[in-house]
Point group: C2
Chain length 313, copies 2
C-alpha cells in the first residue's frame, strides 16, 4: 500500500491507496497559507501518522508516500520550487517527510499526478498518448507518452493553461495575455459574469444563485445560458468556443489517443463535453481527430492522491 | 553511407550522406505534380541511380534510403497517406523504392526529418527536448524528446503550424481559423502585403521589389518595415508579435531545452530571431524560459535530407 497526499490551497488530503489504485481511507485537514512552511509541513506529517493510526495500519507496510502539489517541482522530485497555493519557495518537502516518517517519498506536480492516475487507473487506462486537461480555478495540463509523464527540460512542461489562444486577449495571472486559462479557467469565467451582476445586471442567473453571489459557479452559468440568460449565453458560448479551439490546437500538436477532461468546471457542468465535441471536430485536423477519444476524468477528487502514490520520474 | 531524399512541391533532391551527417553530393530534379505517382516515383528511383553512378558509388555501400515528404506518413513509415505537395494519397513509396533498389528504406514527414537532422548533426545537437519550427510557405513543427521524434497516436503530431493563435482570426488552408501558420507562414504573410499593393498601395516596398510582385518575399517585408513602409510595418509587427506569442505558447507547453527556427522566412530575413526574443521573453513563463535556447537551424536545405537518412521510428 501507498500514501498519496494532495496539497490544495485550503485543504490537504491524505489517502491510503491499495495496489489496485483504490483509496481505502482518506483524511483531510484545513490549512491557512499564512502559517508558513514548517507548521504546514509538520501538519502534513501528523496527518499521515493520524490516518495510519486511526485505521490501525503500520507505517512499515507503506511502499511510498507520494505528494501532489500545484506549482513547479525540482528535477529530483524533492522540492517544491514554487507553490502558488501556499506561497512556498524551494521547500524540501520530500527530504523532510522521509526524515520524519522513514518511508520513500516523492513530490510531483498535482496535475501531472492526476493525469498519471487517470492513465494508470482511470479514464485513460493504458492509452499511449494521453492529454489531461483539468479545469478548476485555472487550467492545468498533463501529458503522458508511452506511460511516462512528459516533463520538459526544467520539469516545467505541460502548462496547457498557459498556451495562447489570443495574443491580445484577456489578461492572465501569469502576466501574459490571452492564455487558455484566461478564457476557460473557473475563476476567470465566473469573474466575467460576476462583474455585470455587481453592476446591476439581473437575469435568470440572479434567480439561479438566489441572489447569493458567493455560490456562483460554472454550473450556474451553463444553466443560465440554457435558460436564455443573455449574459450567461454570451459568456458560455465564448467558453465553449475557446475550449473547443484550445483542445483542437492541442489535438493538432500532440495527436493524443485520448483527452481526459477533469476539474471542478467539468464535474460541475452537465453538457460541457458533448457541447465542446462539435467545436473540436470543426476545428481540428482530420488526421489527428481520427479515433480521438474525449472523455471525462473518472477518479475525481482522488486523481491526484492516486497519481501521487504511483507516479514515476 | 546513406541516401536522403527530400520531396518538395517543385523539386526533389537526393543527397549521399556520410556517417558524420555531411551531404557529400546531391542531385536535383524538377517535378510537375500533375504527372501522377508512378511517373514521379520512377523519376525518384532514377534520381538515386543517377546520383550514385555519376559519382561512381555502388548502391551496395548504402545502408538506407530515407525519404522526407510533406504530409502524413503511416505508422509503419511505408506510405505517404497524404502529400499536399504532390496530391498523393496512400502511395507505397517505401516498398516501391525497396523493390527497385534493394536497399532498406524509410519514409518520414519532412519536418520531423529536418528537426531530427538538426538534433543529430545541427543546431540542436544532443539536446534533450527539442522543438523545431520551420517557417516556409506554411509552418511545420518537429518535436524530439530524448532523441526520439514525438509522433502522436496516429503519426500526425507536431502540427505546430495548426495550433490556434486566435479562434476568430485569419482563415487557414486547413479549414480552421487563426492557426499559427495563418499568421506567420510565408504565403500568408506575403498575401497580406500583396493585396494592398495590387489595390494600388505604393510605398518603400514597391521600390524594394522594383515593381516586380513575383519577387516579393518576407525579407522585403522586414526591410520595408525597417525603412518605415507603413504597410510592411503593420504586417511585420503583427508577424513578430504572433510568432513570439506562438513560441511562448509552445515554450509553456513543452518546456523545450532548445527551439530551432528554420525555413525560408527565417533564412530570408535578417533580424527575425533577435526581434522575436523580447516578445517570447515577455510572454512565456519564467520557469520554462530559464536556460531556453532559441537558435537558427544550421543544416539549411540539407536538414530534411540528412534527417531522412538517419531518423528512426
Amino acid at each position: 500500500m501507498r500514501i498519496g497526499i494532495d496539497i490544495g490551497g485550503t485543504k490537504i488530503v491524505a489517502g491510503i491507496v491499495d495496489n489496485s489504485g483504490k483509496v481505502v481511507v482518506r483524511k483531510k485537514i484545513f490549512v491557512r497559507r499564512h502559517k508558513g512552511y514548517p507548521i504546514v509541513r509538520d501538519a502534513i506529517i501528523q496527518l499521515v501518522r493520524d490516518v495510519l493510526s486511526e485505521n490501525t495500519i503500520h507505517i512499515e507496510s507503506m511502499d511510498r508516500i507520494g505528494v501532489a502539489s500545484a506549482g513547479q517541482i525540482d528535477k529530483e522530485f524533492k522540492k517544491i520550487i514554487f507553490s502558488p497555493n501556499l506561497g512556498w519557495h524551494n521547500v524540501p518537502l520530500r527530504d523532510d517527510i522521509e526524515a520524519a516518517l522513514k518511508v520513500h517519498s516523492f513530490v510531483d506536480n498535482d496535475v501531472n499526478a492526476a493525469t498519471y492516475g487517470e492513465w494508470r487507473f482511470g479514464a485513460a487506462r493504458g492509452a499511449d498518448n494521453v492529454l489531461g486537461v483539468f479545469i478548476g480555478t485555472g487550467i492545468g495540463g498533463g501529458i503522458i507518452i508511452h506511460g511516462k509523464v512528459y516533463r520538459g527540460f526544467q520539469n516545467a512542461g505541460a502548462e496547457i493553461g498557459h498556451t495562447t489562444l489570443n495574443p491580445f486577449g484577456y489578461p492572465c495571472n501569469c502576466g501574459n495575455t490571452g492564455c487558455f486559462e484566461a478564457y476557460c479557467g473557473g475563476t476567470y469565467i465566473i469573474e466575467r459574469v460576476k462583474k455585470p451582476i455587481e453592476s446591476g445586471y439581473r437575469g435568470k442567473i440572479w434567480e439561479l444563485i438566489n441572489g447569493d453571489m458567493a455560490t456562483l459557479n460554472a454550473g450556474h452559468i451553463e444553466s443560465g445560458a440554457a435558460l436564455g440568460d443573455e449574459l450567461c449565453e454570451t459568456v458560455w458560448t465564448e467558453v465553449l468556443e475557446y475550449l473547443g479551439a484550445g483542445l483542437a490546437s492541442m489535438t493538432n500538436l500532440l495527436n493524443p489517443e485520448i483527452i481526459v477532461l477533469g476539474g471542478g468546471v467539468v464535474y460541475g457542468t452537465r453538457h460541457l463535453i458533448e457541447d465542446v465535441k462539435p467545436i473540436l471536430k470543426k476545428r481540428a485536423m482530420a488526421a489527428s481527430l481520427k479515433n480521438l477519444k474525449l472523455v471525462k476524468a473518472k477518479l475525481r477528487e482522488d486523481a491526484a492522491i492516486i497519481g501521487a502514490a504511483f507516479v514515476e520520474p
